[in-house]
């Protein structure tokens, strides 16, 4: 950390504090004592402890709950106490272990924005562990995606991770995507992917990877929102597919269509609901045309 290796440093000496998933507040101590815990251990003068704790209590809007025990607080308040307790000692790094997991959805979004604001104000590095990709994409400056074996698959800015995943695990884990397995061909002229029973589709290999070779097995990942869905024939797209609407899920701001292709594969397509009264209504079992630009598909090693 910094330039120091702290692997051997005992946990109580590390300049890192943790916000635990279940908050781990001390149930027998009131809010004040919980927050003052680390300061008292450092044997700071009483007045200073009091000043620091009161200041942070105010910043977290907890000044009316000083003498309450954790069990007397709501989930959101407990979460703020946990956060206050972790940052009052001014650590160099704050580790947040799924800090919002115990909050309900509406509150989660609010606290998330507060966290971002706080991080900008404090200028402390936050390491934020989550399995919620929405949270991760929202808060992160840098993201690391760890797979089930615990090895890191990709590190990068949220946009890089989302738009240019390096593996199908990352592509599938962060957001939703359609994965189509196929074979790379025609590398030298107009590169294409050949998908069994569906045909050839143009691909973009301007960023050529070392594993790419003529005829190699690969997968193509296309985000559902990158596919244009319509009942009419349209031009100006590099790729075209025909399918049938299997089911429709209405999300409010967008609609999700689950399409069955002629080889039995399924695709998800998102359509923004831009208009009150869309000009064409796509319904169950309709035949639809799907279009996408070759640059919007990501090619990944099988």
């Amino acid at each position: 950390m910094g330039n120091e290796d702290i692997s051997d440093c005992p946990i109580n000496k590390r300049p890192i504090n943790i916000v635990f998933q279940n908050y781990a507040l001390f149930p027998h101590l009131n809010v004040f004592e919980n927050i003052a815990y680390s300061l008292k251990l450092k044997k700071l003068p009483k007045i200073l402890i009091q000043q620091k704790v009161l200041k942070i209590l105010e910043a977290f809007h907890l000044e009316n709950h000083i003498y309450k025990l954790p069990s007397q607080l709501s989930g959101g308040q407990q979460q703020r106490v946990a956060l206050a307790r972790a940052i009052v000692g001014e650590p160099d790094l704050l580790l947040l272990d799924e800090p919002l997991a115990a909050l309900d959805f509406k509150l989660r979004e609010k606290v998330l924005l507060e966290l971002i604001e706080l991080q900008e104000k404090l200028k402390i590095t936050f390491v934020y562990v989550t399995h919620d990709q929405f949270e991760a994409l929202t808060v992160a400056d840098q993201m690391a995606i760890m797979n089930h074996e615990g090895t890191i698959e990709q590190i990068g800015r949220p946009k890089e991770i989302y738009e240019f995943p390096v593996s199908s695990f990352v592509a599938k884990f962060v957001g939703t995507t359609n994965i189509l397995p196929g074979r790379l061909c025609n590398l030298d002229e107009a590169p294409e992917i050949e998908i069994a029973d569906l045909g050839h589709f143009k691909v973009d290999i301007s960023q050529k990877k070392t594993w790419m070779s003529e005829g190699c097995e690969m997968v193509m990942s296309i985000r559902p929102e990158k596919i244009f869905i319509t009942k009419k024939i349209t031009k100006n797209f590099s790729n075209h597919l025909i399918g049938h609407v299997h089911s429709i899920v209405y999300h409010g701001r967008s609609t999700q269509y689950n399409i069955v292709l002629k080889n039995g594969m399924r695709l998800q397509v998102f359509e923004q609901n831009e208009e009150h009264f869309p000009q064409e209504v796509i319904d169950y079992d309709n035949e639809v045309h799907l279009y996408w630009q070759k640059e919007n598909a990501v090619l990944l090693e099988r």
Binding site: I11, N12, P27, Y37, L41, V53, Y67, G89
Partner: protein
């Protein structure tokens, strides 16, 4: 309907309550009565007296009561010092062997109390296990006289009362959220500080429970001192049994019982206050 169902818990309690009144409170009142009240020849009430109590205000009885307090305290302290780490081990590192260890802890209760005592005779006597082992190891040359001593009494007391201390502490440690230890260490506390500030206060209920489960009966214990200590030492329990079983001294026994109960209540109250004070963290109110 509502009324009936809300009275049900009380109704269920009635037999136990009757039992308790008949065999505990009534005798207790009778005992207090015979101690504090004087009767005429024909059995009529003549007045109150402190004479029966005054009879026991002598250095001899003072010593008996004091040694009982010390017996209770030292046994309870030893049980706590041995029992807490044991309970800690069971709750935190026992894992899947937990139930097996608990089983081992309870097993001795399956045998009769007297058998325990005789077993300890075999262990501690002149040609017993301990002496033989020590001689073979060359640590001593002549056997040590263990039996009929304070040492023998304490060994047997701790042996017998330990589970009463371990079980309540174990159950409070079992419910203790282990992540609080992690949180405390993360906030800069050493293991010792964590134990003192977090683990001890949060297992207070178990400690206090175990403390009195051991203290109260060991204050009045008479079988173990009698069997393991010979007749050298006199404790409250021995004095009472001596009077109650003796010819025509039943009322003396009753009086001394009343005195002992009062002392037990007083010392327990004080110890409870002390334990709570030691184990409850100060909550700052001056902020």
């Amino acid at each position: 309907m509502q009324d009936r169902s809300s009275n049900l818990p009380f109704a269920i309690g009635i037999p136990a309550l009757l039992w308790q009144i008949l065999f505990f409170y009534v005798p207790l009142l009778l005992m207090v009565g015979t101690t504090l009240v004087t009767f005429a020849e024909d059995g009529s009430f003549t007045g109150l007296t402190l004479q029966n109590i005054g009879r026991f205000v002598t250095p001899v009885y003072g010593r008996v009561i004091l040694s009982s307090i010390l017996l209770g305290l030292s046994n309870t302290t030893l049980c706590l010092l041995i029992g807490y780490p044991l309970a800690y081990f069971l709750a935190f590192t026992g894992k899947r062997f937990k139930n097996f260890f608990l089983f081992l802890l309870i097993v001795p209760f399956w045998t009769n109390f007297l058998l325990h005592v005789y077993a300890w005779f075999f262990v501690l006597e002149r040609n017993g296990v301990v002496n033989t082992a020590l001689i073979h190891l060359g640590l001593i040359e002549t056997p040590i006289h263990f039996l009929n001593s304070i040492f023998a009494i304490m060994v047997m007391m701790v042996y017998y009362y330990l589970p009463f201390m371990v079980l309540p502490i174990y159950s409070s440690l079992e419910r203790f959220d282990k992540r609080l230890i992690e949180a405390s260490l993360d906030l800069g506390a050493t293991s010792l500080e964590t134990f003192r500030k977090i683990v001890l206060p949060l297992t207070r209920r178990g400690i206090v429970g175990g403390f009195f489960l051991v203290y109260i009966p060991s204050f009045a214990e008479f079988a173990i001192p009698e069997l393991m200590g010979g007749d050298k030492l006199m404790f409250v329990g021995n004095a009472i049994s001596h009077y109650v079983l003796g010819e025509g001294t039943g009322s003396l026994g009753a009086s001394f019982t009343v005195i002992s109960c009062a002392i037990l209540l007083l010392t327990s109250g004080f110890l409870y206050w002390l334990l709570e004070k030691l184990l409850t963290p100060k909550q700052r109110c001056d902020a």
